[in-house]
Structure formats: C-alpha cells, structure tokens
Amino acid sequence: MNNFDTLKALFVKALGIDEALVTLDLAYASIAQWDSIAHMVLVSDIELQFDIMLDTDDIIDMSSVAKVIEILAKYDVIC
C-alpha cells in the first residue's frame, strides 16, 4: 500500500465514510462527518501512522485532502 492509499484508509476510518468520497477536493466541514472531533482523530491517526508530530498551524491548515498531502510533504511523507 503506498502512502496515498494509506492516507485514504485513514480518512475512511477517522471520518467513517466510503472510500469513494476521499478525493483531493474533499474539504473540511464540507460533509457532516468531517467535523472538529473527526479532524482530531484524523490528525492523531496520521501522526501515529507516519510517526510524525504536526505543528498546530499545519493542523489548522488541513482544510482538504489535497492540503493534507501538501502539508505531509513538509514532513517527508510523500503521498
């Protein structure tokens, strides 16, 4: 499984949504499932999976799947 597939699986698990919904355009709060609580779970899962600790500013900036990928690249996690 490559990093993008892993990331998609994390979104599916944390948000409790179908994999088909996890597209680059999927944005924070655009669906009921991606609320602040799910965001926190998602962040925890991402940190645990990729063994990183994200900056608070980066967490706040994680406004879409595309943005998450962009931010993870800063931590040498290439999706």
Binding site: S36, I37, M40, V41, V43, S44, D45, E47, L48, M53, D55, T56
Partner: protein, 250 residues
C-alpha cells in the same frame, strides 16, 4: 486506595514541576509507577528537582521549556512523543503570581500573566490532547485557584487568569469527552509554597486566620487531589473544579 503501581505504563507531564505543588504532584505520580516528565523554565532549578526526585528513588525526565512560548511547548511535547509515543496525564501547573491593585496593573504584567497562566495551559492541552487521543484516553488537570473562583482585592490579573482556566477546563471537558479525555481543575486555597510565603508574615497570618480548618494547606494536600483526578478512581469525573482550601473564606 491507589496501589503503588496504579500508573504503571502511564506517561505523565507536569509543568512547573521544579518546586512546590508541581514537584509534589510529579513525586506522587512517580511514586505510583508513572513515567514522569517534569517541566520547568530554569535549567538549574529543574535539574535540582530531578536530582531530588532521583535521590528519593524516582527517575523523572526534565523538560526545559517556557509554557508561554508556543514553539518551546511544541518542542517539549515532541520530546515526549519521541521518547514515549504517548501521554496519559497532563498537569498544567506552571503559573506566575504578580499582584497589583487595579491602578497599578501594567500591560506588560497583564500580558506576561495571561501568557503563562492561560495561553500556556491551552498550548499544552492542544499538544497533550493529540497524544492522548491516539489511545482514546487521558486526563488533563489544570491548576486554578481559590482566587479564580472567589476573587480577591489586588488580584484582578491573577484571579482573571485562574478564572479563565475554569472556563477553559469546562469547555475542553465537553470537547474532549468523546475521546475519553477528562479535563478537570484543582483550585487550591492557601498552600505552603515559596509563592505563598512571598506575601510577607502579616498577610500570611491573615490568610491562615481566614481558613476554617485554621491551618495552611500542604503541597501534598493538592497533589493527592491531582492524583485522584489522574487515576481511574475519577474515571467518570470531568469538567469539575475541586477546591483544596480547608474551608478558606475570601
């Protein structure tokens, strides 16, 4: 009754643990088996605290950072993450006391007090909760004060910061409950610490006279309550402010 190893496998971080209440809480947690990180912002006093704990048989890891500096807080929590990969207990104890009557309150004093007493605990809770969320479990204990619950002349700044801690505690308790992270506050009254002794003998006696139990509290009295809030004995307790004040009247 808590067993001697009830915190075995648990990781705790106590801010402002170089002395006083923070030191006592760190010691209690270590006594009960927790892996403890002690924080302070002065290398010398922090090292001394770590030495004292080591002499008592408790190896605690010193973490030098200033809670009022978000970048330093981040580095501190990254150190916990790197070494332990988890956090179970966060005690937001670091604080400053800088009293002044209203007309003498400076903007700088206000900023410093809020930076350390309010923004610091919030920064720490931010990072701490993320580490706790991974295990869907945790306890955050914030240090408020009887001045925050009751107010006191000449302590509008300190009292304001400690009241803010209560609002923060109650809000975070609701926000973090779905992740099984409990958030509570302790509101000590007049406790025998360097901070309380700094007010001078006359005022010190006045304070003691205002306590129904007619004695000053000890750091251990506060640490015992923190221990309860950190433990599973309080597994269904969140969003509470527990006074440890011997019936003090203000």
């Amino acid at each position: 009754m808590l067993s001697a190893d009830c915190f075995k496998g648990k990781v705790a971080l106590v801010t402002g643990a170089s002395r006083g209440i923070g030191f006592a809480i760190a010691q209690k947690l270590a006594q009960h088996g927790a892996t403890v990180f002690i924080n302070g912002k002065d290398q010398q006093t922090l090292d001394k605290a770590a030495e004292q704990l080591a002499e008592a048989g408790y190896v605690c890891t010193p973490l030098l950072f200033d809670v009022s500096d978000n970048q330093q807080v981040k580095s501190g929590f990254q150190a916990v993450f790197k070494q332990q990969k988890r956090l179970d207990i966060l005690v937001n104890n670091a604080g400053i006391l800088d009293d002044a009557l209203l007309g003498m309150v400076s903007a700088e004093q206000l900023q410093n007090s809020y930076n350390t007493n309010v923004f610091g605990p919030l920064f720490c809770a931010q990072y701490g909760a993320r580490l706790m969320a991974r295990n869907k479990s945790g306890s955050i204990i914030n240090m408020s004060s009887i001045i925050g619950t009751h107010g006191n002349a000449g302590q509008s700044v300190y009292g304001g910061t400690k009241a803010a801690i209560i609002g923060m505690t109650k809000s975070l308790a609701k926000e973090l409950a779905p992740n099984n992270i409990r958030v509570n506050a302790v509101a000590p009254g007049f406790i025998d610490t360097d901070m309380s002794r700094s007010i001078g003998p006359e005022l010190y006696q006045q304070r003691v006279d205002s306590i129904a139990m007619n004695k000053v509290g000890t750091t251990e009295d506060v640490a015992n309550v923190a221990l309860f809030l950190a433990s599973d004995l309080s597994a269904y307790v969140t969003g509470q402010v527990i006074g440890v004040d011997g019936g003090m009247l203000i």
